[in-house]
Amino acid sequence: MTTILLIVFIISLLYFAIANRLMTYVKILALQGILLFGVALIELIEINVLNLIFILFETIVVKTIAIPLFMRYIIKKNKITREAEPYVSYFASLISITLIIIATFMIANYIHDTHLNKIYFIAALSALFSGLYFISTRRKIITHVICYVVIENGVFILSLAVGHNMPMLVNLGILLDVFVSIFLLGIFVNKVGDVIDEGDVTQLSKIKD
């Protein structure tokens, strides 16, 4: 069951590559949140209740509802154009994301470990790398934040994979996720937003040598 969810997650990455509207990104984020919720529910059903509740809260409330709404609010507030406007064409991104996923599969191919379900590993790494890839190919600052959240999702999956060993790590990951996302978005809303009307990253590359 988890496998199916994770595969859907990976497919969502591919969709992310070709999506051309910011709103679509936000929707994808919400979708991923739901997926993670499912995974977490199945994977961590046996750990203590409080912890489980905490995790589910994180996935549902934060990842699925709060952050996407927040994003929408920002996009509306700063009147950011709806187009994603990437540097490279959607097709190229699609190709590279596919390559990344294949690469992660190849890497996972070398794992001989009983403690790890490979699909977690694949999903996590592909989420990480594709997230990085999106950051370095998208123009808007808001997309950077979105991609950061995608990476966070990947990390969350990985932490789920080892979660039943050490719940502490999972919680830490969650804390980081919440904390940093809030922080980043907070800064974005308060500061960056008002100095930079159109959230184009070129306006944030003044300092250079």
Binding site: Y87, A103, M106, I107, Y110, F129, L132, Y133, I135, S136, T137, R138, H144, V201, T202, L204, S205, K206, I207, K208, D209
Partner: protein, 658 residues
């Protein structure tokens, strides 16, 4: 020091100098009379024990240093009167002057590698601070940095060499070097010796490590240039000698290397010196030349040790050490003379001088003496040391196998060419500066500098003449330092050595006779011509009636014939505007000589490096995506590298199956 008034400052300086000189000289005299002083300082965890040893070799250099620094201080105090405006800088200057002196002394006596490097580098940087005194000129700073960096490179090389010894022997003491030589193979110790030679060559300005010298010397104030070229570059010689003494290696090979390098250094230095028009640059190139001569002496000594030819070794080292002293004397005198001229005229361009002998007779007289001495002409001191080196070469030439003969011929050839060229150079310099008629009218009155400047110069001059006439005493003083090198050798033919050293006594007599002869002739001439009619008239212009200063031979025209010859070797930039048409309009021709080695060895690579480095400056391009991308790529690469290997094996496997 900044609190004190300038006057008191200079007095304080002199007193401190005096104190240092006296204090260090005590040990020196003891060492030269045979009893070496050894003090063992307890160092720190890092350095270990620090032996302070004043052996004859060190003592000889300490004497030279003390003399030059003392006279330099007296001259400098007067020279610096012009700069009393910037107080802070002045005190910094004098502090670094004292620091340099102390560190030089320390370099001579310290026998612990780490501490040696420490004091060595402190000496370098404090002398650097002295050089950049006139810091409002960007050229000065440029020269200073050039000097600093090159000496730093030298230190790096020395560091590697010392580190090598440390690894092998696990100790920082100088004796460890000797142990090193015993433990490792001959070729390895030879390599180490080469490293040392290179490291010290940077300081003493052997070709091709000389390029900082012609910039640093002119940039510095006169007394600093005098001190630098007098002792600071000699400290490199000291290092080489010390290492030769500590590191028993293949003396023949190293001798050949040193000799060849030195001959090239000497000839190249003087060849470039001739075509210079900046007086101080000219003198700087002459320092290079003299380093070459000293190096020839060392090379001869090494060959002598290598070939068990005792007289050759002794005479070679004697020549080298004595020339070290001599050069420090006449070169500092020359620089002080240049300083006087600069202060009188505010110019160092030879072409703009002329007829200064009438305005500043004392300076002219001293400069003449120094020029004669540096050309190695009797009856002055330069001749003595050059003579020693000559006879060392010849003794190697007479007894010795083919390689020695060949080397000696090379050396003699080089030395004689150097001598000849030096004469050409200094006739040019002296003639164009002090003789003839002024080529350029200065807007201010030119007058002789005051006695405070002249007194130290006269002291030096008397010493120059003294060595020229009574060389034997000085050579005697050299006996112990030389024995440090040759002590290990079988010296059955002691007699030959002593005779060969006694020769200098006869030279002294001959010089005396020569002076007497000249005096007699002069006297006769006076007697005969005193009642003759003496009329003064214009210089005969071949019937031309309106001679003017522009008509006389300039420095560049004086060396034109030479330049034509040398153009194949050296490199010149010519900017000329020929006279065209019937009515001659304004025309000019300026020739500035370039140091070919510098162009090819320093400037071109530097330019290429800069260009090449700049091509990488896209990295910090300010866009966040790239910054993230670097991380991505880094991880990707690190992860995939092993898989490439796996893939390769897989393909190989695949191909093998078919």
């Amino acid at each position: 020091m900044p609190i004190i008034e300038i006057k008191h400052k200079s007095i304080l300086l002199i007193i401190t100098e005096l104190f240092i000189v006296i204090f260090s000289s005590i040990f020196t005299i003891q060492a030269l009379t045979g009893n070496t002083t050894r003090i063992l300082l307890v160092g720190t965890i890092v350095t270990g024990v620090v032996p302070i040893v004043t052996d004859p070799l060190a003592a000889w250099f300490i004497l030279i240093i003390n003399f030059t620094f003392f006279t330099g201080a007296i001259y400098g105090v007067n020279y610096m009167k012009a700069f009393h405006a910037q107080k802070a800088q002045l005190s910094l200057h004098w502090i670094s002057y004292l620091l340099t002196h102390i560190c030089l002394l320390a370099v001579c006596v310290v026998q612990n590698m780490l501490v040696f490097l420490l004091v060595w580098e402190i000496m370098a940087i404090s002398s650097f601070v002295m050089v950049i005194f006139e810091s409002e000129k960007p050229k000065t700073i440029k020269a200073g940095i050039n000097y600093l960096i090159q000496s730093h490179i030298g230190v790096l090389i020395l560091t590697i060499a010392f580190g090598w010894v440390y690894i092998k022997s696990g100790s920082f003491l100088f004796d460890a070097i000797r142990i090193f030589a015993h433990t490792v193979s001959a070729s390895e110790s030879f390599g180490l010796m080469l490293l040392f030679f290179t490291g010290f060559a940077f300081k003493s300005g052997f070709i091709p490590f000389h390029t900082w010298l012609p910039y640093a010397h002119p940039a510095a104030p006169a007394h600093v240039s005098g001190v630098m070229s007098g002792v600071l570059i000699k400290i490199g010689i000291y290092g080489i000698l010390r290492m030769l003494f500590l590191l028993p290696t293949n003396y023949v090979a190293i001798g050949v290397v040193i000799l060849v390098v030195s001959v090239i250094t000497g000839i190249y230095g003087v060849m470039l010196a001739i075509v210079q028009h900046n007086l101080k640059t000219l003198l700087a190139y002459h320092s290079i030349e003299n380093i070459g001569i000293i190096g020839i002496g060392i090379g001869v000594g090494c060959l002598g040790i290598g070939s068990e030819n005792f007289p050759m070794a002794v005479i070679g080292f004697a020549g080298a050490l004595l020339h070290t002293l001599n050069h420090s004397l006449f070169k500092s005198l020359l620089f002080y003379g240049a300083g006087n001229v600069y202060q009188a005229t505010h110019s160092v361009n030879i072409e703009s001088f002329g007829g200064l002998i009438k305005r500043m007779p004392h300076t002219a007289f001293l400069f003449l003496i120094a020029s004669l001495a540096i050309c190695g002409l009797p009856p002055f001191n330069g001749f003595i040391s050059e003579f020693l080196i000559y006879s060392g070469l010849i003794s190697g030439w007479i007894h010795g196998s083919f390689i020695y003969v060949f080397m000696s011929v090379f050396g003699v050839f080089g030395l004689s060419v150097i001598g000849g060229l030096a004469i050409l150079c200094f006739t040019k310099a002296f003639g164009t500066i002090f003789l003839g008629t002024p080529r350029h009218t200065f807007d201010h009155e030119i007058h002789e500098s005051n006695c405070m400047a002249l007194i130290p110069m006269y002291v030096i001059a008397t010493l120059i003449v003294a060595i020229g006439i009574f060389p034997f005493y000085f050579v005697q003083a050299l006996w112990l330092p030389i024995q440090q090198f040759t002590g290990s050798m079988p010296n059955e033919n002691m007699l030959a050595v002593l005779t060969s050293l006694n020769v200098v006594q006869q030279i002294g007599i001959a010089s005396l006779y020569f002076i007497a002869l000249a005096g007699v002739v002069w006297f006769i001439r006076k007697q005969l011509t005193k009642d003759r009619v003496i009329t003064y008239n214009e210089t005969w212009g071949c019937g031309y009636v309106a001679p003017n200063p522009k008509m006389q031979y300039t420095a560049s025209s004086f060396v034109r014939t030479y330049r034509k010859l040398a153009e194949s070797i050296l490199q010149f930039h010519k900017y000329k505007k020929e006279i065209k048409g019937i009515f001659p309009n304004e025309a000019f021709q300026t020739i500035l000589p370039l140091d070919r080695i510098e162009t090819y060895l320093i400037n071109a690579p530097l330019k290429r490096i800069r260009y090449w480095l700049n091509r990488f400056s896209f990295l910090q391009n300010g866009s966040l995506q790239f910054y993230i991308l670097y991380g991505l790529l880094f991880i990707m690469v690190l992860i995939t590298i092993p898989f490439i290997g796996h893939f390769y094996h897989f393909m190989v496997h695949l191909l093998n199956t078919f």
